[in-house]
Subunit: 553 residues, 2 copies
């Protein structure tokens, strides 16, 4: 039996390796039009920035490795030009010589990956304009910087590759401007969380132009300035295009392999396409949400590896099914880690869930051990209590909490389940109650209406809509005087029990403190004194001031 795989980065090589582990009877051949195989595309920004010294570190494995270990024949710089699935024959061009050859197969795997989207703009072919996708791009960008020592760079597109590049170019001493068409960086995040990232980027000297589109890249040999839709112009010596990727589906379309609603190849859980004996894996294939079951397209190396392994198992007769993804993502932007899993608030509302939203601001470990605050925004379904998603922004310990939450969500955890987790506690690693436990406690209290939450955005919206609230600031006088929620009166928690009689227990009441904990204590005091409608402001004044700023910007 002949297995032919097109594409040799993460997914394609995973298919081959797993198939070989299961069977010595298979003849396995991989063609790739690129020269590099099995490389780490996600490492590129760090190579450009110099954290990775040598480009070979991005390509630890070559064709000889796969031959020796797995008896797989990998032909690089060989582009599969066409396929005749009726005769199971592929026509391949050797890009080095121009020669054409044919090969046959019993089973075909499309692991053709994705390509950077290059917007159809004047000037995109200039030699100081780069995309960030493969090893050649990485080498080209770093070589260009080494040779020309640019002082300024413009990054078009504020997704995570754009932000990682912003960090790494800044570390090289380059003044970075980032242009993003949407009004926020990191479109997969809710806007309130994305603004925390944006603030940090600005603090680190990155100039952000949000809600701006590039209309032209101007310059003769090289781009020297970028024209924006607003009429502005930015002088620049280097341009990075990171506006997204599109799956390489040309071959698939040629042979009748169907695409899904996301534009990537539609596959079932066995990674099979609509055409018998043709599989698709990796960045060319569609995935689906563990939570909603809906098709999603989130090309990522970790998912590509999973898909490849599953296809390799299925092809060799082993039982396996892809279980979908949460769309978990993480990146580092200077001193901040930004991570996300499951549904955002926006996605959950669009999917029709009635949700509870919490902003939980907590240190990753005791402050006496160097703990620093992270903000966890968590979303749960009111009907079932199920945690639907989380976004976390903070300087440290974020990767751990997102992985714990991703694990819990995978197992359909309810908010109440999080409190019971027996996570590892010692002062160098966590607080006695881990931020994940607090998240579960507060979300569960909100769902069960024992401690209802209102987000700053909801409050601002409802006030704008004419609803009136009795708003109580429970912090110190100095804190209140520095800034407070519009319309709030000041009663510190210590006086609340005695001064509650100044308030009307029948009015809709909002209490808050700095971050949420004292607000919750105040909420309980009022509730227990007979107040009928009391919400704690999610994330307290700190989150309110942040959200208010976002809305006015």
């Amino acid at each position: 039996m002949k297995l032919l795989i097109i594409g040799s980065v993460a997914a394609g090589t995973s298919v081959g390796a797993k198939a070989r582990r299961n069977s010595e009877d298979l003849q396995i051949t991989i063609y790739d039009r690129d020269q590099d195989i099995s490389y780490s595309g996600c490492g590129i920004p760090y190579f450009v920035g110099g954290e990775i010294a040598d480009i070979d570190e991005l390509t630890p494995r070559d064709a000889a490795f796969f031959k020796k270990r797995y008896n797989i024949d990998i032909h690089t710089r060989h582009e599969v030009e066409s396929i005749d699935h009726a005769t199971k024959t592929a026509t391949i061009v050797n890009l080095a010589t121009g020669d054409r050859l044919t090969d046959t197969y019993d089973t075909l795997v499309l692991a053709t990956g994705a390509s950077s989207i290059v917007p159809p703009l004047q000037g995109v072919d200039h030699d100081n304009v780069f995309t960030v996708r493969n090893v050649r791009n990485a080498d080209a960008i770093r070589s260009y910087i080494d040779a020309h020592n640019p002082k300024t760079a413009t990054i078009v597109g504020g997704g995570f590759i754009g932000l990682e590049m912003a960090e790494q170019l800044s570390y090289r001493g380059i003044q970075v401007t980032l242009v993003e068409r949407l009004p926020q960086v990191m479109p997969p995040l809710d806007r309130d969380m994305a603004e925390r990232v944006a603030d940090h980027l600005r603090d680190k000297g990155v100039s952000l132009l949000l809600g701006e589109s590039v209309t032209a890249l101007n310059g003769t040999e090289r781009v020297t300035d970028i024209a924006l839709e607003s009429g502005k112009s930015i002088a620049t010596e280097l341009v990075i295009l990171s506006v997204g990727v599109k799956p390489n589906t040309e071959l698939a379309k040629q042979i009748g392999v169907g695409l899904g609603q996301t534009g990537a190849i539609a596959v079932n859980r066995k990674m099979q396409t609509n055409v018998a004996d043709i599989y698709a894996v990796g960045d060319v294939a569609e995935s689906f949400s563990v939570i909603t079951g809906e098709a999603i397209y989130r090309p990522l190396g970790s998912t590509a590896n999973k898909m490849g392994r599953i296809a390799g198992m299925v092809i060799t007769g082993e039982e396996a099914e892809h279980r979908g993804i949460l769309g978990t993502g993480i990146f580092k932007a200077f001193d901040l880690t930004v991570a996300q899993t499951g549904l955002t608030e926006k996605e959950a509302r669009e999917a029709g869930y009635d949700i509870e939203v919490l902003h939980n601001i907590k240190p990753d470990r005791p402050e006496y051990m160097g703990g620093k605050e992270m903000t966890i925004k968590a979303i749960a379904d009111r009907a079932t209590g199920r945690v639907l998603g989380a976004q976390i922004v903070g300087p440290q310990g974020v990767d751990k909490r997102i992985d714990v939450l991703a694990t819990a969500i995978t197992f359909k955890a309810k908010a109440e389940d999080l409190f019971h987790l027996d996570l590892a506690y010692a002062p160098p690693f966590a607080t006695t109650k881990d931020p994940v436990l607090y998240t579960g406690m507060a979300l569960d209290n909100a769902i069960k209406k024992t401690a209802r939450l209102m987000t700053p955005n909801e409050l601002i919206e409802q006030v704008a809509g004419g609803k009136s609230f009795q708003i109580i600031d429970t912090r110190s006088k100095a804190q209140f005087e520095k800034n407070h929620v519009d319309g709030a009166i000041h009663i510190p928690l210590g006086e609340l029990r005695t001064r509650a009689k100044e308030l009307d227990p029948t009015l809709p009441t909002i209490v808050y403190c700095n971050k949420g904990v004292t607000g919750n204590a105040a909420q309980n005091v009022l509730k227990n004194l007979g107040f009928t409608d009391v919400c704690n402001l999610s994330g307290g004044n700190k989150n309110y001031q942040h959200c208010k700023k976002c809305l006015t910007e």
Copy 2:
């Protein structure tokens, strides 16, 4: 209704705070014989070492805080001397004045904690002998070091407090000797994993005396040398006793509150004792295993907080049940993090499980991003595939993986489930396939017999028992010549397909490489060529050499 709580550290204050959050109608009083409340006992080693500058950081809250925020009356230096539960009356001694007072209650909570075990040895009352339990101990140790500048210290007991103290005293320039009665440090770990910790301690200059018992602490005013059962004697200027703790059950016994098989107070899932209206929480109370349901005693701040909150909920009529613990633990010893959750190999075998054991050696992130190897030992039940426990030792990223595994185990994850987790991947944080995913893959393959494992200990034992194996080292010639498994022959993986005919496919066969991955590839080659009984050596030669050393020591 009057709620009386005895003990004001983690559990007692949690009961009070949660009860108050739920009700303003309750009168809440706490008595504690100590002067400090709500302190972080786990922070003590770091205060002694100086990482925590100020002792106030260990005691962030005082009685005034609890009065103001929760309207709870905390009386410190007040010892509850006796209780008459028939009349629901407590007799209390004011330790400052010697005065006696009485108080009544409707509901009583025993949060009396645990005390350091002080072995009945001559010299334990000398002024350079300390236990490590409360804020006074912390202050006393640091003051003694500041005043007397000892050059040497002896720690008696190699559990995690002992090891944390070994680290922190070393950081202060003190030459540390650690004496442990058992033949290994960290009794909660399997011995092969404990030996990795021991090696690291020795590398860092800690002198380990394992399998040794102290018979006397000699000296006139101060201990100057320690006599050991073996006849050895150690000169020392400072002695730290960390041989464990015992629950403070005196009051419980006085009033007929029953103890469990661990010696701590037996409670149901609502934290209720056998006596109506008496609860027990924290280090004085017994917990139970999430996995086996059996009673266990693992006094820890994180568990104490959980128990306290649950009792506070139950007392005020809210639905809540303790769900048990995994016994998750973590500590830092110099450059190593050591963590554990669920059952060890030893515990799992004792509990009657037929288990699969994996040693998985993997970097926490790509080596080009500074990744460093950790060793994950994971245990799964062959019958159900359920992951039963994990132990991890490594320099970084250990806390994340143990928490992910603890979360997965809580939700009854099978080994096969781990591979499907959508964990956060980016080069600064993880490898494309996270170590947790690899753990799941290898364990699942072992359970399903597609890639059986044998641990070095099993191999050594079976060889000692007379069984013969065909053992194949698949590494390079240089590696083989440096050291190899006893009796192994050398066939590098690249030659295995052609040289397999030199072997007998019907013999029990062991293959191995350095850490396990190439061994697995070799195993698959042989299996697919018709070898009927092939095991991969768990953790490869690296793990074998380590285990062999342990057994001969």
